[in-house]
Symmetry: C2
Subunit: 272 residues, 2 copies
């Protein structure tokens, strides 16, 4: 059965999409075609959207589902004339929220992912630059500025996690790879010792590490079961000896790894 | 007036937060303390959350606002006993959606940002690695694999945009800096010519570029008004001569730049 979901917004559509995906994930047997329509910020554009939704309705086996975060109620009411089934987020929640908060909504268009509040935005970009400059142990002299220093063996998930923490949370996350040299004595490397409060460890299952490393350097010593097992064992022993908080990244997405790190360390996001 | 907003989820809380932020952005005069509580996936954890919400309610000047994406209705009903005002996303929309789709919801916990659908997840990570390896013109031999090649003068926003496109859309985005050497003859650099269909340009206002470059290299020729103006003029002329689609990034966040690029090029996200 083919059905279509539209994510429609006067801004980027990111919120409409996030909400829509969360709801559609509950209906995994239905195969939705997903279409995001950002910047629908005029009646004319809305009318074109209605035409498109109606064309889809004619060929699909059920009404298109519409998830919208359009703030302007005039534009929203145009969308409502379509043959789609509308999950109308602002229409549903804004009025009750106005009552509860005893304030009128400002009906400002598409703010969630805009640059306004530019201080916050520049924090995200600064954090991103920090993550890139302090990736893979490239530098250590900025560690005093770091909110967090991720450690772990090569390819355990440090870099994507640091970049996610920078981009989405505005946190300055450095990462330092634990190599053969570092793990010989199961002690925290000297360069990290002054910052032990900021250090968080990643580990990963051997099979997964072998698979990831083999994609990069097939049949190398680096990707061998023996080497991967050795590195992981030593690093995990080091985490225990040095009481470094750590998680196993094998079954987690970067979003989940980041969320768990923030939960365990109590580090607060700088932006949301 | 101090009020508190809770974003509560049995998963990462990212969806609850995105939706809550979008709604709260409509009440900009109210200063909300924002608290995300992820992984509330048991009745016991929910009871602790209720206690926390009620303590907040006692000290705040109005009820805490709760945005939740908890799928399990038993856990949700525990949260509902709190003194908070609940914007209950699944409670509001899941049943009507079940009726419309004529399917039962699977009531699966916190899927939106999990690693399941691992093919898709590994595409995101592969895209991220691609963006990092092909940052700043570091390599050009992988350009045939790129979905997109961003060009622009140094510090016009290429790198954060590429990383965002990789992480959030699963797209392989390379970026190539246009330097003095490249822009002498206002032609597309030779190395880019085979890939002109993939090329998208960024530009930026002079003042903003001067400010950003001065943060990096204060009082340098690189950061001078004269040099920035020269580079931007030449690059914009090149975009026009070579008909390279382009946007001005000055007033846009990475989310907005990425959304506009996808809109203008028609490139489809690989993941959502």
């Amino acid at each position: 059965m083919k059905r279509t979901a539209f994510f429609i917004s006067d801004g980027t559509g990111i919120t409409a999409q996030a909400l829509g995906q969360a709801l559609l994930a509950q209906f995994e047997t239905i195969d939705f075609e997903r279409i995001t329509l950002p910047y629908i910020d005029s009646v004319e554009k809305a009318q074109n959207v209605v035409a498109r939704i109606n064309r889809t309705a004619d060929t699909d086996e059920g009404s298109p589902i519409i998830f919208d975060t359009i703030v302007n109620s005039e534009i929203r009411s145009v969308i409502r004339t379509s043959q789609g089934y509308m999950i109308d987020i602002f229409g549903t929640f804004l009025e009750p929220l106005e009552m509860e908060l005893k304030h009128k909504s400002s009906y400002t268009v598409g703010k969630s992912h805009s640059i306004t509040g530019s201080e916050r935005y520049s924090e995200r970009i600064a954090a991103m630059n920090f993550a890139l400059e302090n990736d893979d142990g490239a530098r250590t002299r900025q560690y005093s500025d770091a909110d967090l220093i991720l450690v772990g063996v090569s390819r355990s998930g440090k870099t994507p996690t640091c970049i996610y923490l920078a981009l989405q949370c505005g946190l300055k996350a450095a990462n330092y790879p634990l190599t053969d040299d570092d793990i010989l004595d199961q002690k925290l490397p000297k360069v990290l010792q002054p910052y032990r409060d900021k250090i968080f460890g990643l580990t990963i299952d051997v099979d997964r590490l072998v698979a990831i490393r083999n994609e990069r350097k097939p049949n190398s010593r680096y990707a061998s079961v023996k080497q991967c097992m050795y590195e992981l064992q030593e690093v995990e022993l080091m985490y225990q000896r040095e009481r470094i908080p750590h998680i196993n990244s094998t079954h987690y997405s970067v979003e989940e790894i980041a969320t768990r790190i923030l939960m365990e360390t109590g580090i607060e996001r700088r932006v949301r």
